[in-house]
Subunit: 234 residues, 4 copies
Amino acid sequence: MSPDTSPEAAREVSPRPVETLTARGLRTRAALLDAARVVFAGSGFAESRIADISRVAGVAHGTFYTYFSSKEEVLHAVMSELQREMASERPAHTAPPSPAQGIEAAHRHYLRMYRTNAALLATLEQVATLSEDLRTMRREHRRFFVDRTARAIQRWQDAGLADPGLDPTYTASALGNMVDRFAYVWFVIGEEFDEDKAVETLTRLWVQALGLDHEHPPSPHRRPRLPGRSTSTS
Amino acid sequence: MSPDTSPEAAREVSPRPVETLTARGLRTRAALLDAARVVFAGSGFAESRIADISRVAGVAHGTFYTYFSSKEEVLHAVMSELQREMASERPAHTAPPSPAQGIEAAHRHYLRMYRTNAALLATLEQVATLSEDLRTMRREHRRFFVDRTARAIQRWQDAGLADPGLDPTYTASALGNMVDRFAYVWFVIGEEFDEDKAVETLTRLWVQALGLDHEHPPSPHRRPRLPGRSTSTS
Amino acid sequence: MSPDTSPEAAREVSPRPVETLTARGLRTRAALLDAARVVFAGSGFAESRIADISRVAGVAHGTFYTYFSSKEEVLHAVMSELQREMASERPAHTAPPSPAQGIEAAHRHYLRMYRTNAALLATLEQVATLSEDLRTMRREHRRFFVDRTARAIQRWQDAGLADPGLDPTYTASALGNMVDRFAYVWFVIGEEFDEDKAVETLTRLWVQALGLDHEHPPSPHRRPRLPGRSTSTS
Amino acid sequence: MSPDTSPEAAREVSPRPVETLTARGLRTRAALLDAARVVFAGSGFAESRIADISRVAGVAHGTFYTYFSSKEEVLHAVMSELQREMASERPAHTAPPSPAQGIEAAHRHYLRMYRTNAALLATLEQVATLSEDLRTMRREHRRFFVDRTARAIQRWQDAGLADPGLDPTYTASALGNMVDRFAYVWFVIGEEFDEDKAVETLTRLWVQALGLDHEHPPSPHRRPRLPGRSTSTS
DNA sequence: TATGAATGAGCTTTCATTCAT
DNA sequence: TATGAATGAAAGCTCATTCAT
């Protein structure tokens, strides 16, 4: 094993790295992580107590510190896990018949996923600005989704299906925000909406905003990227 | 649950109603309110201390309680004030030549306003779910903007300028979120954008999503698809 | 009053500066300082609890932090006070008839003073190396006594009373240590001694070591500073 | 009072007597003892953690308790070892030509030895008063050195080399302290000295204090003043 | 009204020690 | 013997709120 026996190493970070944990340790850590998720979702970050997390996990108060060195650290771990889950869930495995139908399916899936995790996502919203660390995590998570959408928009533009005058990244960011925020207002702030109507409206807005509802023949003289309105108004 | 997170607590009347204050009292109260705004913007809600607010206001610690009965109460007062300011600011003084230009001006104005108040708006985001009281305040504030936009959409639809198949309220909510969230991601989360390009993209997305870029002859057989207002009002 | 109302100043050190305290505050601070002295003397530093100090002072636990920000800080204050007392106590106001008699009086006084404060001085010993801060305080306090003794030695040398071959500073340091340490071994470690005999021995050792028991005529050819033994051995 | 500061606790037998250990066990115990020495020297007693000692020794945290029943117990073991080493080191192999030269050699050796072990000796100073047990150990260790010096003084007195008016024990204690404390102030408190000058000054002070620099004819009428040994033994 | 000292519940964190494997 | 996870008593410290002046 040959650990670091130098006196300088005497002061080390308390929580043992995850890779060095025994099976029992991994089980306890998982229990704490699950408990933290439940507690954060139920009380928000500020009102959550380490004592609550330990109690829900069924371990002694001190055991918490065997695995995490602070409330911030579990929070980080919980949120990483949540975002990993959100990123890995894939709504459809078969290619949708049309962009519009794919968008509709994605919207429905996103809204349902949001509703399921609403309490925890509300907490994520609360803490997004608490530390630079979390802000960075948030930015990177967003970028994952934005990039995915931006690539789709690019593909549609290349295929002559979407308005080529839109910047894919700005557009993906804006339209993504629209759906994400709609879900937040609905499930967290408590505005009331009807699912079918919400999906329908959001989809129609995307389709029309992207110009997916009519063709965009690749005209040889490149049209100005922005803000070129339709020719009829000029 | 801690004693003062219940919605009733925040609704409690101030130690002394504002109307009964002397001129000196009003001045002190205003100083505290300003100080709270600065401190909340600088530290967020959880990290702000009554002691900080008092010190910044230049009054003794105990004086705070002459005007507010709790931290929640100042928060409420600060946020009310902010939302009142945001609602009263009017961007354009002359009627815009076209909906698209009006939208563009509104977007630019909103983004600039957001940038100015970013820190406080970030705090508002943090606390939105802290109490039912704040959640309600948030809902009502949103409704003010959404209704204003919904009325505009309705007008454009009635004038044959906008897609009549869109529900004005759902649409106003979704498009409003898009801009609000874009500003948040930019000024709070720290994504980087260019103002002109942002305004252009957001405007183009609104215009195309609403179908403001082509005509919508009032064909009676298409109107009923979505629960828009009854045709008799136009 | 015009305090610092800038937001940057919001985060300030907790304990209000002593000069700004009211009479009541000064009283409480003094009570805490006295209590700390008692508790440190009784339990040593490591075993003393803030709770003990507060209880002995008759104030609430939190009140401690109104005046000191940590156990280290009171310790520092207590030790400063002790050293100030030790430095200001003057044994004799009349010039002693001879150096030897002055030394004897000083020794007796030092031993009695040590016995009185033995418990607290034992604590001082314990903590001397706890922080650079305390180590510095210790060094400076020592220097005060060493310098005083060194000046006396210098005077005696100039008057032809003491061995001119001794470096006043090294000598003062060494002889001072001898007495200080004798007291420590006696009153703290628990070795048993008789006061008269102790004073007599220490004084005789000083007198002979310094050569105060015979004359040192200022020979025109400066004798080698060190280690020149008596001429009889060469 | 806390459970383990009583003298009995430190006297408790180790979980398993050293004699019954296997070769492997002896090796582990030695590793822990060495580690404790390093950690105590580096962090002092209060700031040293069993976890640190175990880590530096390269064994699991729990293994510590196979060999020692508490932190106090290792401390005791470490300090015993240190004092055994200090007592067994013999500076000179050949008889010194004169008392003065012997004293000088002893002083130089002592100062160097102190410098080498300064950190651990500083810790010893810190803990000297922590328990009656340690205070006793300290007293006995001191007595060993004091007795050795006292015997030398006695011999010099009997040979007519040293002032017969000095009590050998008091004198040995006082002069021993002088050197020991000088080293402490130098290597622990951080006062700055030059080795040659220090050795010279300390030696000169001893020599003159003891009167080794001139003869002391055994005049029978002066001898009885202090309780030196009875003249019949010489 | 204003002041600033006092309060103490509440939470976090540490770490010596135990114990199942 | 060795391991490393679990325990929980003990402190430390914070800060919203109260209160005497």
